[in-house]
């Protein structure tokens, strides 16, 4: 019943991805914990957290694709929401350290002690409770995105203008979080975490659980995305992407739709960030770097935007590439990475999945026409046309 409802809202691809994610959520931890290190199927802890990290990136990519791929809003500042979610989680983890900090101050995090702060700033209250922090992981990015989006979409800021102000947003946050006076640990950020929900954050079991959680949340993200995309709202979004003003003349309040999906996406990014921090062990302002947000865009593009699993593939591939190249040819790896981006744009304009997507939808479309026997001359002529048009940053 539930499963049936579930599958009614995701296509086959989505279904398979979700099942796959659930599978690794179970298998990887098991192999890491139970199998002996000698076994060929043993996944070392190092890989567990590494892939875990990739998956959080993948989640960020999915969130970004929801607004860019399906609604044509190119955000160059999604890293900001990711980082904010991360900071919310980081603040919880800081509070968990308690008196185990180097200065053994029961309340104040170390960086506050050596900056000689007397008491906890108000915005740190409540973060000793996991659930409050978890709430903030959703609320902080959500509220920021809502406020920002409400302004921007209402006054019909579109295209590069929107992209650039999202970049301005993350850049401003970067500078702000660098400042020690902000009370977020300056450029060193938050680190040296001890435990999460009572589990020692460095224990293999914790890492495995974090990994599993990440995989499951990614599965959830995939489900939510495909639910949205397959609903009538999803159709509206694609309509907005392709012909925004037409949508208005049909009586849709485009700004509200954008605002909705924008906020959802921001929250998704926030959750990704929150899962990222305990696995990486540090959160600092560099996460706000505009370059990071641009990289996220690139993951999506590489994987194939406007698809649900393209971003996942892109994020994992690019980051794996980064991990591999920086170790294999540290001196020249940037050439490889740069070349990858150029090649992908030139030869896989719609990303790795795009190839497939193009081919598939052409196929279905043609079968539809063949079934309809009559092949209109125009359609025949234009059959070379790729049915997935460019998501335009502006109409």
């Amino acid at each position: 019943m539930i499963t049936q409802w579930f599958f009614s809202h995701v296509d086959r691809r989505g279904g398979i991805v979700i099942t796959l994610l659930v599978a690794i959520a179970v298998l990887v931890p098991l192999s890491n914990l139970l199998l002996p290190a000698t076994s060929p199927f043993h996944v070392p802890t190092y890989l567990v957290s590494l892939i875990g990290k990739y998956l959080t990136y993948a989640m960020l990519a999915v969130a970004l694709d929801l607004v860019w791929g399906f609604c044509g809003i190119l955000s160059l500042g999604h890293g900001a929401f990711f980082a904010l979610g991360g900071y919310a989680m980081g603040m919880y983890l800081m509070r968990q350290i308690g008196a185990r900090g180097v200065y053994a101050d029961p309340v104040l995090p170390d960086f506050m002690v050596f900056l000689n702060w007397k008491e906890l700033p108000w915005f740190w209250y409540g973060f000793d409770s996991f659930w409050f922090a978890a709430l903030m992981v959703l609320l902080v990015p959500g509220v920021l995105a809502f406020g920002f989006g409400w302004l921007a979409f209402r006054s019909r800021v579109t295209g590069v203008y929107l992209s650039i102000i999202t970049q301005a947003l993350t850049y401003a946050l970067l500078l702000a979080f660098f400042r020690n006076d902000m009370g977020f640990g300056g450029n060193n950020g938050l680190t040296d975490f001890k435990d999460i929900l009572g589990f020692n954050i460095q224990a293999d079991i914790t890492r495995s659980l974090l990994f599993a959680t990440t995989a499951l949340f990614l599965a959830l993200a995939v489900f939510v995305t495909s639910f949205i995309v397959r609903s009538k709202l999803g159709k509206v979004l694609v309509g907005v992407r392709d012909a925004e003003s037409r949508m208005r003349f049909l009586g849709y309040r485009v700004d509200r739709f954008k605002l909705f999906v924008w906020t959802v996406s921001a929250m998704m990014a926030g959750v990704a960030g929150a899962l990222y921090v305990p696995q990486v062990g540090i959160i600092n302002p560099s996460e706000f770097e505009p370059a990071n947000s641009i990289e996220a865009v690139i993951w999506v593009a590489v994987g194939g935007r406007g698809t649900i699993i393209g971003p996942i593939i892109g994020a994992v591939l690019v980051n794996f590439g980064k991990t591999y190249f920086t170790a294999a040819f540290p001196e020249i790896w940037l050439f490889a990475l740069g070349a990858l981006f150029i090649v992908v744009t030139l030869f896989l304009p719609k990303g790795i999945l795009g190839l497939y997507g193009t081919w598939k939808s052409k196929w279905t479309d043609r079968t539809a026409r063949n079934r309809d026997a009559v092949l209109p001359p125009v359609a025949a002529v234009r059959s070379g046309h790729t049915p997935i048009p460019e998501p335009q940053a502006a109409e």
Partner: protein, 248 residues
């Protein structure tokens, strides 16, 4: 004449874009159930007039009333659309990456809020209405096609179909037969007359044959203001109209 008991009421409307007067002191009244053809040379302000009615452009001066009481200058595109004014663009704009059917689904009248669309499931009579419209616009057998692959004429029709799905009180149709074969043109005329039985229609068109086929009251615009109004024969015999079209 008063705004009451009219469907569309424009009075003394003027708008200019940095100096250039697109519309000047334009007045036009449309009774409910009426079909009106607007003719006029390029730059006569036909499209601008539609922009004003649909809220895309705000007039500098003048009143624009719908249903006698609604001041259209106070609403934006979406609201006006919901009031029951549908618009078809000169260049057919359909959602190319959606199928014919989905295009109609999107246009179909009904709740437009984000959440209602998120959890929307298609009801029986919605399906029924879509079937009807597909028949009316003769695209029934192509419902699964991506709109991108329709011929130009088919797109024009699909857009008209979307208008119907919107179920508006007033249709604004901008050059519906541009680039259509004669056969298609005739078909379209028939279609529009059919529609006009239940709704008011404002058609902007160059093609005189087509206007003649519609055989309705004609308003001729020139330089943003009404030059002549009446039956096509009356208008086309008007001296100034002839000058405008044939030049001095």
């Amino acid at each position: 004449m008063k705004a009451q008991d009219t469907l569309l009421y424009l009075d003394g409307v003027s708008v200019s874009f940095d100096g250039f007067r697109a519309i000047y002191n334009l007045s036009l009244v449309l009774q409910s159930g009426e079909m009106r053809a607007i003719i006029g040379p390029n730059g006569a302000g036909k499209t601008t007039m539609m922009d004003i009615i649909t809220g895309k452009t705000r007039p500098d001066t003048g009143d624009v009333y719908f249903n006698g009481e609604v001041d259209l200058t106070k609403h934006d595109e979406a609201e006006i659309a919901l009031l029951g004014i549908g618009r078809k663009f000169q260049k057919p704009t359909v959602f190319e990456s959606h199928t014919v059917e989905d295009n109609l689904v999107l246009a179909l009248s009904g709740p437009r809020s984000a959440f209602s669309t998120l959890f929307h499931r298609q009801s029986k009579d919605e399906a029924e209405r879509i079937r009807e419209i597909l028949d009316t616009i003769r695209l029934h057998d192509k419902r699964d096609w991506l709109a991108a692959n329709l011929s130009h004429g088919q797109k024009q029709w699909l857009e008209i179909g979307m208008l119907l799905a919107q179920d508006p009180k007033l249709l604004l149709v901008d050059e519906p037969v541009a680039g259509m074969t004669d056969a298609e043109t005739a078909e379209t005329a028939k279609l529009l007359r059919e529609i006009a039985k239940t709704r008011s229609v404002l058609v902007v068109e160059h093609d005189m044959h087509f206007v003649r086929e519609l055989d309705v009251k004609v308003t001729c615009l020139h330089e943003g203001t009404v030059l002549a109004e009446g039956s096509l024969d009356f208008v086309s015999n008007d001296q100034r109209v002839i000058e405008v079209y044939l030049g001095r």
